[in-house]
Amino acid sequence: MTESFSYVWLIPFLPLLGAFINVFCNRNPRVSGMIACAAVATSFLLVLAVFFQLIGLPAGERSVDVVVYSWITTGTFAVDVAFLIDPLSTVMMLVVTGVGLLIHVYSIGYMGKDTCCVRYFSYLNLFMFAMLILVMGNNFLLMFVGWEGVGLCSYLLIGFWCERQSAANAGMKAFVVNRVGDFAFILGLLLIFLYAGSLTYADVFAVDPNVLAPVITAITLLLFIGAMGKSAQVPLHVWLPDAMEGPTPVSALIHAATMVTAGVYMVARCHALFAQSATAMTAVAVVGAFTAIFAAYIAMTQYDIKRVLAYSTVSQLGYMFLACGVGYFTAGIFHLVTHAFFKALLFMGAGSVIHALEHALEKGKDPQDLRNMGGLSSLMPVTYKSMLLATLAIAGIAPFAGFFSKDLILLGAFVNAPVLWVVALATAVMTAFYMFRLLFMTFGGKTRMNPPETEKVHESSRVITIPLVLLAILSTVGGFIGIPHVFAKGMDRFGGFLAPVFSGLPEAPVPSSSVELALMVLTLLLAAAGIWGAYTVYIRGNTVFDRLVPRALYTLSLRKFYVDEVYDALIVGPIRKIAWGFSRIVDALIIDGGLTLAALTVRSVGNVIRYSQTGVVQHYALIMVIGALVVIVYVTGYLGP
């Protein structure tokens, strides 16, 4: 059967080829977008072929390793460049190439006029390549290649407008923070290799749990720290909000289709390991829940449209980890998929708004600031409608995509960790609130722009709106791939498809249908409450919250809990000082100074002794004679007759 999948190497290779062609063979900015899109589109078609081929197989055989070549071999260490085709990787490939393709198309409209768009599209293709390697690899090391690869591409894309200092800084911050996670990840790999003797998934997951038992918690926690870096979980979340320095489609790509989902994918991929360590599972769940509420809290007060969305991504990723942590891996991946739909849509919608305002607003006004918007619904109807659908989806309103996946996560939390369930519920309210706040401030109410500005605002071109509409459709109906059992037995297509992957896990307890329904109603009510809150404040202009909420809580949220400042003070600053100290004091003063001191000592001794050189030949001759006599006496031991 392996033979029939032998073409899968083309899936990551085509985007790489696209990047290659754009870099070396193409000088025409107009064509570059076409090339990039064609590469990704072909990949997408191939992924579809893989998908249909896979569901043609019996459920038990839906896991195929495709070895391309042997990569690194030394003694007992052997790693191949090989791809794993199973339902989980196929789902990821579908999301990556599918949503990625829409973002590529959108980019033609958004970036087509940029002078550097050849470079832009080659980065974008490279990003797809790295992400596909990440999800397709059949071993940890290949995953690490993609893992670092997406880090690199995010560095390049976030710093795309590198002549802006802030963009350059943000790119570097993303890479370095990711590296902190990668450091843990690589240690995890080393531990796995030491104990399991292999890095291939199939071998590692098949290792007897008793062999791994002494280190399983360490391994999973290290891997999870890696995931925290890539998926922006507290406290390694700091890079993601800054990542919006890149072009908006890039944010869509990073936040929705690629990169940040890598951590969730990795945890789901390693579910066999995580399930062996209760500590690690708890850590995943707690970090996820905490991140969810933490980021949601910050998102409620931000004014930059992309920053709100960025914190919303962090929060939603927290949900996904919560799902994984309580053992609902399917729910985590399900939310990953639906989130990819609506978050890509939200970012692209935001991009559409920003694009429109960039040309309209007066110089000096920030086109990303919510306070400069308002009343855009009539001016940009397509953008507005699609964003409304996405907002409903992320707020978890039935029957949009987010409802189903979020509901499943909440159910899992309710069953396994009631405390975290409360946290998740609170987050759901906040999510509804801040997302509708964003929607109302952007599109609702009266405009806060000048009349001449308003006249210049108009709907974006087709290239931009068509992907929006497509994603809006997906955000609306995408949830129906996983209809809960309560409504229709056996209609959970998504769960059924992934079931073979997660079959090794213990059966999760399922509450009765009535409890499940009650929970749904409760979440819906709470989400509605959040929407009502946003409506009251931002449409009706009611200041009730201003009076109720203490100023400090508001500032804490606005200032993002001062995390960046704390890092600067506690980590960045001291490391700079230590580096400076080592450089100037230890290296220059002590080590090099010590050497200079030794050299000076030698020289000063020489300065004294040199006066024995009188320059008179006969003195030297005399000393020679005396020396000869001494030698003779010493050798013969004879001092007199």
Partner: protein, 517 residues
Amino acid sequence: MTDLPLLSLIIWLPVLGAILLLFVKGDVAARWVGFGVTALVFILFAVCFGAFKSHIGDPQFVERIPWIETLGVSYYVGADGISILLAGITALMWPLALLGTWTIVTVRVRAYQVFMLLMQTTLMGVFFSLDLFQFFLFWEGMLIPMYFLIGIWGYERSSMAALKFFLFAIFGSLLMLAAVITLAFLYHQAHGVLTFEMAALYQLAIPPEVQFWLALAFIAAFAVKVPMVPFHTWLPDAIVLAVVLVKMAAYGFIRLTLPMFPDALAELAPLMCGAAAAGIVYGALIALAQSDIRRMIAYSTISHAGFVVLGVFALNQHGIQGAVVHIVSLALSTGGLFLAAMMLVQRRNTWDMEAYGGLWHTIPVFSAFLLIFSLASVGLPGLSNFVGEFLILVGVFQQHAAIAVVAATGVILAAVYMLRMYRKVIFGPLTRDENRGIKDLSFRETAVLACMTLFIIGIGVYPNPVLRTMEASVQKLLVQTHRLAETAPAGTSGTSTEAASRPVGLDATRGISQDNR
């Protein structure tokens, strides 16, 4: 074809080229002669590599001519999997370096070519020597061209740097010389003949306490040149040749220290690993505080050299193979980084990072290459350094997990200092007018850097040819390295088992081991 004395040709051809240069007039002609000779050496090497059989662990293409017979010294060359790789990277880098510095070196061009050629000879000689005496001659001989290269064509304070380097090196070499003589003496005591042949000396059973001091002497010689902290302060001023020295010194560790002193290593290896890990972090931290590109690269080299030493003293196959791959990648990435930096400095005449900025749009081709070299240096998977670093970490982690953890922090710091440099030089706004008119790379420069990039990517994506070439040799080396360490407990019960585990010189070694215990 194989009847030709290939290795001797590779070693001595550059000397012939240097002699030819004495009769050449004019800078351009001198450059062409230098480049032509090194290119020829590369071709010869390619022939040699093509005929190399990687499944054999013993030296191949062996040539042996008796030389100073009373001392038991012979001209004895041969290549095994490890030396052929290191010689290979030398053969590759030399024409590229000469081509890369084509217009950068403008004073005393002829002398520059001569010294570069002489240095290639000594390097090749070191890699191919199978006789310790001859090894030492080449090792020391290299100091001469090196002294002049640093002194004449280095940058500010270069004559001081050259002197500092020379003294450091002489200090280390003296200790090594003493150790070499002691080894020959011990051999004479045991077998009644003088010889400096490495393979024979490997078999020598040396009392552990003597081993300890001899090993220390060798380590001192190599540690100065790797360089390991705190013997590194000559490097920042003499960076020009750092990459070359890393290669040689690491080779010395692998070829001499490991197989000769197995007992001493049991004690010393953890110490060396610890020192190497400390050096990794130390070098990285200092690199972080530099605003001078050259010093930044220098300290990053110190950090990377720490990785190499770490891999060697992991004393297992992953570590040593990783170390060799890392040496090769370092030559490519750090060499490329430095060459690129020199090209930039040639245009603007300053090493200060702050003087640049916003070059991305002015010189895109250069920026792309600098990015690739920086990323390789950072250890991005898919590029060559990653393979080496990861294998080293795998190897060390098996022996000393804590040390591997410390070393791995170097990975984070590397990202910080490299990207910091890149951000300052290439990114950011273009603020200085004098940066506006910088010309992008010429065809020649692009070709040089592209060639290195190809190898960086090639090794990163498909390192197995490299790994396979040395596999048999490394295994043989490890058998040597672990021979006594493993048989030591058995040896106390009876010498017969101990002697049986030794492949060569059974009778004589048995005699000596009885004396020792």
